[in-house]
């Protein structure tokens, strides 16, 4: 609002977009007051518009969350301790040298490691196993070791294959050692990198393929006495037979017990948990449900209550991600977009009517998100995509 002669363009929308207007409403001072009141005095016809915009801004209150003063001080103290303020930083830096070398090539990642490390020092660690994990999603993946540190999985493996080999320590706890002679670090959990399939080789010969951004929890579960893991995201398992030591996977509040087999577990918050058996035998059990035995080629979908729904599925499609592709067969747009969103870490927004045509086909996961969408588009779907950063807007295309 630089001059009065702009008044004929004044709308509620325009006023709210005007910084001088907003400042007048929120933090009025004499100059602003005079200016706006003067404007309205000279152009009384603007009054309703100004009033409506003003009322909207003024009347809308947001819930206010106030931090208690002592928490504010406490957090400041923790920051100072973590950042090594008010003291020499040397000692800390030296003690971290070893894993700094492990952690990474990029200084950003190293720093990320440092603040994760310091963040959990001094906090009670609680019990092993089911205690909440210090999850931090990251493009490059994270290996959480038993003392609370987070190591970057960037540049892990070679030739495009990302493999993390774990071994037993002398006392049969799960550790990893980055080469001969290196100190073995206890393994807590692993969050796999985005847009990649990450493989974990367990010391008993079992292997886990982790889909983009998935988490495998091992602490306290995988020991000499039991073989258990917790899964968030999607993992494909090949389990080494060991009749004396069943392999169990916790999926929500259900357990999957396995005897030498290959199967896929998907545990995403936005869909039913799904366990798909490729080979061997799998038993599903949980509270308040009869145990269910799966046959190869079957998938059990587990809701939050009731018995799992078991159906025959096309296993190559369920496990296509492991071999580097998205595979769709008469899938709804929501299913397709959900898969892309998980892999690329993208957010999907639907605008207006939703596309209706079923989608079939496969797309290599090595493509960029833009290219994957371009291919989808090219198959004649009735959808239009608009990508802004990590957000994909989906709308219905009327003339595919």
């Amino acid at each position: 609002m630089e001059s009065d002669n702009e008044f004929d363009r004044i709308t509620v929308q325009g006023l709210i977009a005007d910084d001088a207007f907003l400042k007048w409403v929120n933090q009025p001072d004499e100059a602003l007051e005079n200016r706006w009141k003067g404007l309205i005095d000279r152009h009384p016809e603007l009054q309703p518009v100004v009033d409506e915009a003003r009322a909207l801004v003024r009347q809308l209150r947001f819930a206010e969350h106030r931090a208690p003063a002592e928490r504010k001080q406490l957090v400041l103290d923790r920051i100072k301790a973590a950042a090594g303020m008010g003291q020499e930083e040397r000692g800390k830096a030296v003690s971290m040298r070893r894993w700094v070398q492990v952690a990474a090539s990029l200084s950003v990642f190293v720093l990320a490691g440092i603040w994760l490390y310091t963040r959990y020092v001094g906090k009670p660690t609680g019990g092993l196993g089911d205690s909440p994990q210090p999850f931090v999603a990251s493009k490059e993946g994270r290996l959480f070791v038993s003392d609370g540190r987070a190591l970057s999985l960037a540049d892990w493996g070679s030739d495009g294959e990302h493999v993390l080999k774990l071994t037993w320590s002398a006392d049969r706890s799960l550790v990893f050692a980055d080469g001969p002679g290196q100190t073995a670090l206890g393994v807590d959990s692993i969050t796999s990198p985005m847009e990649a399939v990450f493989r974990v080789a367990l010391p008993d010969g079992s292997q886990v393929w982790m889909n983009s951004g998935s988490t495998l929890r091992l602490a306290g579960r995988y020991t000499g006495a039991r073989r258990g893991v917790g899964v968030t995201g999607q993992c494909y398992f090949t389990v080494a037979p060991d009749a004396g030591l069943p392999f169990t996977v916790a999926v929500g509040d259900r357990e999957v017990t396995v005897l030498g087999t290959q199967f896929d577990v998907a545990n995403y918050p936005d869909m039913r948990h799904a366990v798909t058996l490729i080979e061997g035998s799998v038993r599903l059990s949980g509270e308040a449900m009869p145990p269910v035995l799966l046959k190869p080629g079957q998938q059990a979908q587990i809701g939050h209550d009731g018995s799992p729904i078991v159906a025959d599925v096309d296993v190559t499609r369920v496990t296509a991600w492991k071999d580097g592709s998205f595979a769709f067969r008469n899938d709804a747009i929501e299913e397709v977009m959900a898969q892309l969103a998980r892999w690329y870490g993208a957010t999907v927004v639907y605008e207006g009517a939703r596309p209706e045509l079923p989608i079939s086909g496969s797309i290599p996961t090595t493509l960029s998100l833009d290219d994957a969408l371009a291919i989808l588009q090219g198959t004649g779907v009735d959808a239009a995509f608009e990508v802004e950063g990590k957000t994909v807007k989906v709308s219905k295309l009327d003339t595919p």
Partner: protein, 200 residues
Amino acid sequence: MRILDIRIDWTAFVAGDERVFEQVYNTFYDVLYNYGCKYTSNTELVEDAVQDLFVRFWKNRATLNEPPSLKNYLFKAFRNHMFDQLKADGRYVTDDFGDQHLFEAVPSPEDTHVAGERADAMERRLTYAMKRLSDRQREAIFLRFYEGFSYVDIAELMGITVKATYKLMARSIDAMRDGMGGSVNSILFILTGMGSYSKK
């Protein structure tokens, strides 16, 4: 609670002056905490995110260029970090938050004396209109109305184009005006009748 931006002695900050750091912390802790609580009811997670942000801010200071706006810089870094955390926690998967109370509008006690029941009714309608917005729309409204960010700032903060921000805001404002029905106008003469635009 509205915090304008502040300018700090950047050279002293980079040189390691902890007083400057504390000045930044004390200025922005409350607003960032409030902002973080819009995404989750887990206050510990919010505190941790604030902590991480400031630890990084201190540790990286030597390699940082002075941001044109400290507030924009901190909000953006904080928002990204919050999203990472929530996503890792599986709590931020799609745009659809479901049952949430995020960026929730609440009645404003200081204005209710204005027109008694009519103000209440208006606020109820406004609150209801807000509930029907998408989370991104609510967030944009929050950043604009409450934190006073410019549209360009909001675009930068939310990682969308300025054009998209205008679109997002326009839709949100339209939806709110629709939701309000005629009540905005009916209450206005009372507001203006008060003669004062000052505000606590």
